[in-house]
């Protein structure tokens, strides 16, 4: 029944240890070395998954998928994630928990499909979500994780779509404040397909997330939205990558982050446009708000553009709340503290708008005020 034999596990662990995360070493602000993350000694496959989906789609746990839907699984699993994703190897080492969502052609699902993973008392969780959307299918998938204190969560989500499919994948990470969270998310959309990511990192002591979209077909519309907000001593490390390998596709990346207390964050926004990917359009907007003197956010937009007939835009800001905004609001009678709060919460609105359901937006609206204080 276990999907990974001991030898498989050893092989994956070896690759986990051998693969560099590509992240900077700890420095003046950032305190955690991602090359030296210790795996809990009691790490094991486990936990449970429940999938809330209509019967018109195939939505099964990983054990059933391996047994009954091996072909669909093989079209996605491991295909979307790149071999250089260090933490994906760790998920593979403890494989077993997961879900396959397979949308038949032209199936449009309005209600979001919710995949919930629960640690069930275990201290580790290695969820693997696989989404395959056939031609013209449309759905929103929401991933949820429930664990106890101190959990170590290392998951993978992979999406492969055919032409004209439209998939939105959302995850709001609200793990306990002493948990650690590592996610590798990857998509390969088909011709004229639309893919949208919306991720938020609210909880966990350490949250690491890679969001990669490989555009290998024309007509793709890729949207990446990320929100994170380390407070206290939380560390958040996000890398988003949109790889335009062929032309005539568009991508929009929107990242809004804030840090308070001694919160630390790093963001690397990769936009790559290959030499032959003419007619690509790529936008990257990345704003970081520092709400305390000890808070720090390193934000790096990295554009590698080898084609000449492209439209590429990037804009990045890092700073405290703007004096003129604050003065304007206080001049209307709103006290400084409330003004700061309104400005800081308002700062996130454009990215909150990218989350696909009112319930997720409400969850963020409820969680963020506690972080602004």
């Amino acid at each position: 029944m276990p999907s990974a034999t001991l030898t498989d596990r050893e092989r994956h662990l070896e690759r986990f240890h051998a693969t560099r995360s590509g992240r900077e070493k700890p420095g003046r602000y950032w305190k955690i070395d991602l090359e030296a993350v210790e795996i809990p000694s009691d790490a094991k496959p486990g936990g449970s998954v429940s999938i809330d989906a209509p019967s018109s789609v195939i939505a099964v746990d990983m054990q059933v998928a391996l047994r009954d839907h091996a072909a669909a699984l093989a079209r996605v699993a491991g295909v979307a994630t790149e071999p250089q994703h260090k933490f994906a190897h760790l998920t593979a080492a403890f494989a077993g928990l997961g879900a396959l969502i397979h949308l038949p052609a032209d199936r449009a699902i309005d209600e979001p499909i919710v995949v919930t993973y629960r640690a069930q008392g275990d201290s580790t969780l290695f969820p693997h979500t696989v989404v395959l959307a056939e031609r013209g299918a449309r759905a929103t998938v929401i991933e949820r994780i429930e664990t106890g204190d101190g959990a170590f969560v290392c998951g993978v989500s992979e999406i492969v779509t055919e032409e004209h499919a439209d998939i939105t994948y959302a995850a709001v990470q609200t793990l306990p404040l002493d948990a650690r969270s590592f996610f590798t998310r990857a998509a390969k959309p088909g011709v004229n397909a639309r893919i949208a990511w919306a991720t938020a990192d609210i909880g966990a002591a350490l949250a690491v997330c890679d969001i990669a979209t490989a555009i290998e077909h024309p007509g793709v519309e890729a949207n990446v939205a990320s929100l994170f907000f380390p407070t206290g001593t939380q560390h958040v490390d996000i890398v988003s990558t949109v790889d335009h390998r062929v032309g005539h596709s568009t991508s929009q990346t929107l990242v809004k982050s804030a840090a308070n207390g001694r919160g630390q964050a790093r963001y690397l926004g990769n936009i790559r446009i290959a030499a032959h990917a003419q007619g690509s359009e790529a936008g990257l907007r990345d704003d970081a708000l520092l709400l305390s003197k000890q808070a720090h956010i390193d934000s790096i937009p990295a554009l590698e553009i080898a084609a000449n007939d492209v439209k590429a835009f990037h804009g990045a800001t890092v700073g405290a709340i703007d004096d003129e905004q604050l003065f304007y609001m206080t001049s209307r009678g709103i006290d400084r503290q409330q003004a700061e709060r309104m400005i800081a919460l308002g700062f996130f609105e454009p990215v909150i708008d990218r989350f696909p359901t009112q319930a997720l937006r409400d969850e963020l609206h409820d969680a963020l005020p506690n972080k602004v204080l």
């Binding site: 905004q325 003065f327 609001m329 209307r332 709103i334 309104m342 308002g346 454009p350």
Partner: protein
């Protein structure tokens, strides 16, 4: 002697160590309209920001009271609660903060507990109707992507909703836009006709006399080089319209 009015006495103000206001004396009585005119760089906008407590402006001397309250001792929000309003020439854009939420928060702090959200909304829509504004404004982010005219309308809406005791309108450059001028004129008129605004005193800061075709000023002041050099009636504005500031500048120089 009454302490009513926005009373500015020998006000000095510096920006980054440079003295901009060199002793301003001015009294705006309740219900009156004062125009403060002057060429670019005379210190008009500095006076507006000094009165409202902008952190980059340092008061180096003098006093200002609002109906007897020492305005200069208060933080900007407390000044607004005391009844002062500044219409900004260049209001800040605040993405993510919706106009309706902002207006409600401001009204609640300036006039606490007076209105439920429902009643506030009714009042808001009423004021917007008077000002000819589309209700869709309320769902937009504060000044974010607004045109110059839209920003001006929102400033005027805020004035209407907050019903200040004294309103300072910094109109220095907007005189270039004829529609905006008319709009400001109509807004001031409608506030003065409301119960709340009957006693509102106005200080209208302008470079061009044109705005005074839409609002009749009781008193006109001319400011040059950080001082008020001449005070008169509406005819003074007409004279500036005809002659510009040069003849007044020459008179002032001859007097000195």
């Amino acid at each position: 002697m009454s302490d009513q009015g926005l009373r500015i006495t020998d006000l000095h103000c510096s920006v980054e160590g440079n003295e901009i206001l060199k002793g301003i004396d001015l009294i705006v009585e309740p219900g009156s309209v004062h125009a403060l005119m002057g060429p670019n760089g005379s210190g008009k906008s500095t006076l507006a920001f000094s009165l409202t407590g902008h952190p980059h402006y340092t008061i180096t001397g003098g006093t200002t009271t609002l109906d007897g309250t020492d305005l200069l001792a208060l933080a900007p929000d407390k000044r607004a609660k005391a009844g002062l309003f500044l219409s900004f020439q260049y209001p800040a854009a605040i993405p993510g903060v919706k106009v309706a939420n902002f207006l409600f928060a401001a009204r609640q702090t300036v006039k606490p507990g007076e209105l439920t959200p429902g009643k506030f909304r009714t009042l808001l829509l009423e004021k917007m109707d008077v000002l000819g504004m589309d209700p869709s404004f309320l769902g937009r982010y504060l000044n974010d992507g607004f045109s110059g005219g839209e920003k001006k309308r929102l400033e005027m809406l805020q004035m209407a909703v907050l019903g200040p005791k004294y309103a300072v309108l910094d109109e220095t450059d907007s005189g270039l836009d004829v529609d905006a001028l008319k709009y400001v004129g109509d807004s001031v008129k409608s506030l003065r006709e409301s119960d709340e605004g009957r006693k509102t005193g106005f200080l209208i800061i302008t470079h061009y006399p044109r705005i005074l075709q839409h609002i009749t000023a009781d008193v006109v002041h001319v400011m040059m080089d950080g001082r008020i050099v001449k005070t008169g009636g509406p005819d003074l504005a007409q004279r500036i319209e005809r002659e510009g500031y040069d003849t007044i500048r020459e008179e002032t120089a001859a007097r000195a």
